[in-house]
Amino acid sequence: MTEASPQPGSLPGPLAGVRVLELADETGQFCGKLFGDLGADVVKIEPPGGEPCRRIGPFLGDIPHPERSLSFWYYNTSKRGITLDINTADGRHLFRSLTAPADVVLETFRPGHLASLGCDYATLSKNNPGLILCSLTPFGQTGPWRDYLSSDLLHMAAGGQMASSGYDETDVPNAPPIAPGGGNAWHMGGHFAYMAIMAALVHRTVSGRGQYIDASIHEACALTTESAIANYIYRGEVLQRHTGRHHSAGPSPRTQFRAGDGNYVCALVGGRLNPRYVRELADLLDTNGMAGDLRDPKYQNQAVIAANTSRIIDGLVAGFIASLPAEEVYHRAQERGFTWGAVRAPEQLLADPHLSDRGFWKEVEHPELSHRFTYPGEAAIFNGSPWRISRRAPLIGEHNAEILGGELALSAGELTMLMENHVI
């Protein structure tokens, strides 16, 4: 510890006081989670019966049920939830009432849907000029693909992720381009949308004015392939896919090696070999008696190193890694200053002491189940205003009475009537 104070558990988050209304499916719920975990008061507005992405698995105990979706649980922490059918006149009326004091509305309807309900930005901001409305959609509000259907896989194809990811022909002949898993198209869109909304919020602290944001997941993905676009624009290059490492215009040394326990290690060696690196590498490999002839003074010559690159990487480095478990290689290498890592399955992270040291894992109470579950926490430690999960995902309509009854002052009778009429 140098300058970081202890995690200030009782302080409000950095977005305390910000009210976000979220009308989002699987494409936008992660953006809402970021706001909620960072301290905003996020009210998730679901259709009566619950948002359809509650049907995405895995489920608690493998029992499929809209209240047991772990995917929904994960992406909807730190939110409260109400049900409201905004396709009904009553629902729209209530929605407009909710937008009057809101700071942000995040919506993922098909382009034009909100406007067709008379809830476009011009209308909603009439009584709330500070309102920020962000439409986060697969392709944005305009253009020839505006109404195209999408999915995570589709975005990874068109965004360029697949063109860069896959296998060397020598490793897996005829392999297709591979779309990395985990639902990351939604993450990419969520990150950019979060950023745009934050810029608008900061601007509003100065100007007092809100605005409309048209955010596109396809564009977010297309922006997320590192230098691939620059390689094309400046050099006309089309990149090749390689097993577990960077795309490249030509052949490149491998960086993924099978360790002694059958797991893999990512070892960035190619492009870094110079006399000093070779000396340090010899020290590392010697920790398991595997340095071979690497201490031979002839390797203190860059030309000799270059002529032996393949032998060093595919022979000595690969041999060393194959002689130890992946985690052991990872820590031995990092302790000596090598930027190497074990390729871990997610389940291995639970035992990572570094994450525990940083208080990363969060115990989240599910009172209706009388149980606490361990959740992954936050990307960064905010030392002055904590980023932290404040509560589990809402149950369907859990806060109808609190918000519709409390804030909008609907009576129990009115709530009953709305329920009977499928409005909430």
Partner: protein, 439 residues
């Protein structure tokens, strides 16, 4: 009008994730003062994106240009007492300090948060290190691929019974950069509302882990790990012949859900097709010409399509091979079927009608590189557009503007700083624009 007009950022960032963060702060209109030193520059050199007809030097990296639009460059040796003093004077008139060094570097310069706060009490300091400033492995280092490996992201990508395919680029440099910008603006909002600055300790490795969230909950709640038969299932939602379990891709378990070769069979001639319901499947059957194979009962239900996925995919590919990937896309989407082409960088820049319509790649003039397309923003803000307005700076291009104009040094002091190696290494040849600023 720009959203972050009037905000000044002291930008120490070097390799990809840091500059990608400040690129976005710049796009929103913050004044980014990028502090660089040619002897240990890593974003400009080595360059693999210099056009073939240009000399490789500090000002001709195409990727640097795309990553550093909307910024100014101050060349300054921070590792001298005089350079450090200038940095402190700069911090005193700035709002945000952002860097992506290893965890102890800024502190070792005497520029830790406590010192920053002494100079500028409400400073928002975002450190973007590999493992963060706390925790037992804070001294470990990352590049994107290592953060991806250690966090589980790499493992989620690949075919069953094969090594991980991983991510073919530093996804966590892109995404780490996103978090840098997100944290900076969140801290800035908090400052504007409360008057309080703070140190935000971002870790590239730790920031990767929440992206594996549902797979991690499957572990902590259900005890199910990802190291299991059929996982990861390549591009499919489920691998045939293995137990039906969730795939964490954020969509339903369905077939078809795969990449299919298209005409003329080149390296990137693939199209992906997904049917999320029986109705979507029936529409695809029509698009494919209502062939008899497709009307078989065994393909009529999602359970049947999952069970007979090998044959299904082979049959679908028999059709897609007869068409180009954009034709498959257009025919499917016109009928309400989910399909999009696998797009290379060339495809996105030249052939994607949506990105063209949305003006994702607009030309911009750079003094050394000439006129090239630069990536734009994926969002349109009605009142404060985040369009690019400056090409990337040449190294040290704005040294005089910042040192004289902002910090109030005299021309003599500027010349003295060049003479004593504060603003440029004394032995290193200067670019013409640097000679110009010394006149």
């Amino acid at each position: 009008m720009k959203a972050l007009a009037g905000i000044r950022v002291v930008d120490f960032s070097w390799v990809r994730a840091g500059p990608w963060a400040t690129r976005w702060l710049g796009a929103f209109g913050a004044e980014i003062v990028k502090i660089e030193w040619p002897e240990n520059e890593r974003g400009r050199l080595p360059s693999t994106t210099t056009p073939q007809h240009l000399e490789v030097n500090l000002n001709t990296s195409g990727n640097f240009n795309d990553t550093n639009v909307n910024k100014k460059s101050l060349s300054l040796n921070v590792r001298t007492a005089k350079g450090l003093d200038i940095v402190k004077r700069l911090i005193a008139v700035s709002d945000i300090v952002i860097e992506n060094f290893s965890s102890r570097v800024l502190h070792s310069w005497g520029l830790g948060y406590d010192e920053q706060r002494r100079i500028k009490p409400d400073i928002v300091y975002v450190s973007m290190s590999g493992y963060g400033h706390t925790g037992r492995h804070h001294h470990y280092t990352t590049f994107g691929p290592v953060a991806q490996a250690v966090s589980g992201l790499t493992f989620l990508s690949g075919l069953p019974d094969q090594p991980p395919a991983g991510w073919g680029w530093s996804y966590m440099d892109d995404t780490g950069g996103m978090y840098g910008a997100m944290c900076a603006m969140t801290g800035l909002y908090h400052r504007n509302m409360t008057g309080q600055g703070q140190h935000i300790d971002l870790s590239q490795m730790v920031a990767s882990v929440p992206l594996v969230g549902p797979a991690l909950l499957d572990v902590t709640v259900n005890g199910r790990g990802s190291r299991r038969p059929g996982y990861p299932p390549g591009n499919r939602a489920h691998w045939p012949g293995t137990p039906l379990t969730a795939n964490y891709r954020g969509g339903p378990t369905v077939a078809p859900h795969n990449a299919y070769r298209t005409d003329p069979g080149g390296y990137n001639d693939w199209c992906v097709i997904v049917c999320q319901s029986d109705a979507e499947w029936r529409r695809l059957v029509q698009v494919m010409g209502a062939r008899s194979w497709a009307s078989q009962d065994k393909f009529a239900t999602v359970a049947g399509r999952l069970q007979h996925q090998e044959e299904l995919d082979e049959r679908i590919e028999g059709w897609t091979r007869t068409l180009g990937k954009y034709a498959v896309t257009d025919q499917c989407q016109a009928a309400g079927v989910r399909a999009l082409p696998v797009q290379s960088a060339e495809d996105r820049v030249e052939h994607d009608p949506q990105l063209r319509h949305r003006e994702m790649y607009l030309e911009s003039e750079h003094p050394a590189l000439g006129r090239h397309k630069v990536q734009n923003a994926p969002f349109k803000l009605s009142e404060t557009p985040a369009t690019n307005y400056l090409p990337s700076p040449m190294i040290g291009q704005h040294t005089r503007e910042i040192v004289e104009g902002l910090l109030g040094f005299s021309r003599e002091e500027l010349r003295a700083g060049f003479a004593d190696g504060t603003f440029w290494p004394t032995q290193r040849p200067r670019f013409p624009y640097q000679e110009e600023m010394l006149r």
